[in-house]
Amino acid sequence: MTERILSCSEALAEALAEEMERDESIFILGEDITAHDGIFGQFKGLHKKFPDRVIDSPISETCLIGAGVGAALTGMRPLVDMHFADFFTTAMDEIVNQAAKIRYMFGGQAKIPLVIWAPDGGGLSAAAQHSQSLESWFIHTPGLKVIVPSEPSDVKGLIKTAIRDDDPIIFFQHKRLFSQTGNVPEGEYLIPLGKGEIKREGNDVTIITYSRMAYLSLEAAEQLDRQGISAEVVDLRTLKPLDFKLITESIKKTFHAIIVHEACLTGGFGAEIAARIGEELFDYLDAPVLRIGAKDTPIPFSPALENFVLPQAENIVEGVKKVLNS
């Protein structure tokens, strides 16, 4: 398969163009997605190519997401742009009480091939209402699937799979990764849901992570390598379904685990992973599992504050050493 270097944004736009070409029932609904190809340029070229299927919405997030549900129930395959993941709060009923419930509470009659695309994460001085990582809310809602890719090829492979899936999916993309580049296969490239990937092999410790923290974990692993510590970086890529098999295999090799996510620590997905490791892999641990997440505050504006609140590569390095020395 031929590969080129693309950014995460380009990978997304390419994958969507290919899918929309393939299936006429796919359309994109969101705010500011025609004149500006999306506020991050994430839908570049799509409106020009598919003028009837890239539709600008008024600023009505509730109805926007709900319309995605209604369209999915009646034969279409919508991708709805949430603009900023933080705005999920304005459409929680449509996601939690409608999209996630409809198939189940109607006894399996309906299918809801809906992708809600949500740019999340901090690190841009966007402050408290434009910087959050909210994946836990949706993992905690049966009926939804949650995808959190890091590198461009994962964006392409997973968005294509998400579009073809018949369940409601929350697809997060970290804002700081839009311009992140990487090799991306041309044409048909699909990554199954629930399949993580080892982004770096190692023997001493398993760093379980996803989204932008996968890159920071790789950075930390480089630093650790120079200090003689071999860290394995497991990028989960999808959180629901979760590739616990990959986590298991890695821990059986390293006997040490640290979980890193950008979402705030308390009640974060790291707690769930740590609990499962405790339940299922206790005998393979040489040290307690450590979690690293943002501090339990809203994300502050000033870079001086934001950098302190969000996990940094140095925190991961320290965390790994703590786990190995305990």
């Binding site: 709900g66 129930l73 509470m105 899936d165 379904p241």
Partner: protein
């Protein structure tokens, strides 16, 4: 309208009422778990509206949805089975009274969230437009839901995109316990149509012929691609918000007054008598048939088995993700 069509409408209204009365009785006998919201008194709106829809048109219903479902073609026996929580119910016992759907009949579901149907019908309308069919979507809602943001977002979106949608408000004067005279600014739902530049109509929602002709106009408008309309059917519910509601917010006299002077079935009954469609014996015959249908439906539903415990783990995802 032919004689058969008129009789059919009348039979449907009788069926909705008999279903609701029986459901109320079964609930009071503790045979129905949870809680139920009955639509007795609102039959002209549900039956009149659905009578002008095609099989492939969509309906988004409410927590007070039994009438809409029967009017759109749902079978009472499978509805009762759902009310009892049985495996052969419309939703295999996972939905109950507030969550009955039959997608094969275009029923996109009753909805336990007040105002939950608006965004869904906008999506259905958008889907119709993108698929280039001439279907129509109807969303039923109450005077209470007219105050939710979803109503306003949906009306705006449906208007700018000229979606084939009919907004059908059943203004029964009370949002749960709160009178619309208190909670509805401007005192009219239909008037809000003008803000969104769409046609708005008020009907005597207890007169099925008026409801029918108004909805018919709006449906035709929608099918021609002219966009949405908003209809406010002024009606009344005889029962409380839910069965067991102490109803401290209104008097028995008020309920009696509506029953005596504005009963939708009585009004249509009298009309059919005057125009010669209905005779004493035909009326008796029809009521007998309906009563038999309801009795038979309840018998069926009561005899049906409950779902198996492990069925609770089914139907969540189209492509399941349970951890092994």
């Amino acid at each position: 309208m032919s004689k058969e069509e008129k009789i059919d409408l009348y039979r449907k209204m009788l069926t909705v009422r008999a279903f609701e009365e029986e459901a109320g009785k079964l609930f009071s006998e503790n045979l129905i778990p949870g809680f139920i919201h009955l639509s007795i008194g609102e039959e002209a709106s549900s039956v009149g509206t659905c009578s002008v829809l095609r099989g492939d048109d969509y309906v988004a219903s409410t927590h007070r949805g039994h009438g809409h479902l029967i009017a759109k073609g749902a079978e009472p026996k499978r509805m009762f089975a759902e009310l009892f929580g049985k495996a052969s119910g419309y939703c295999k016992g996972k939905g109950g009274s507030m969550h009955i759907a039959d997608f094969s009949l275009g029923i996109l579901g009753a909805n336990g969230v007040v105002g939950g149907g608006f965004p869904i019908i906008v999506g259905a309308g958008l889907s119709i437009k993108l698929r280039k069919t001439d279907q129509v979507g109807v969303v039923f809602f109450g005077d209470g839901a007219a105050n939710r943001g979803t109503f306003h977002e949906a009306a705006n979106m449906a208007s700018i995109w000229k979606l084939p949608i009919v907004f059908v408000c059943e203004n029964n004067l009370y949002a749960s316990t709160t009178p619309s005279s208190y909670a509805l600014a401007g005192g009219s739902v239909a008037k809000r149509a003008s803000a969104y530049d769409i046609p708005g109509y008020v009907t005597d929602g207890n007169d099925i012929l008026e409801v029918r002709s108004t909805v018919s106009k709006a449906v035709k408008w929608a099918r021609q691609g002219k966009g949405p309309s908003l209809i406010e059917n002024k009606t009344y519910r005889y029962r409380g918000h839910f069965e067991g509601d102490p109803q401290k917010y209104r008097t028995e006299k008020e309920v009696e007054n509506f029953r005596k002077k504005h009963d939708p079935i009585e009004i249509f009954h009298d009309f059919l008598f005057k125009d010669g469609t209905l005779t004493e014996s035909l009326d008796k015959n029809l009521r007998g048939q309906v009563s038999e249908l309801i009795t038979e439906s309840v018998r069926y539903a009561r005899e049906e088995p409950f779902p198996k415990e492990e069925d609770a783990l089914e139907d969540l995802y189209y492509t399941p993700i349970w951890r092994k």
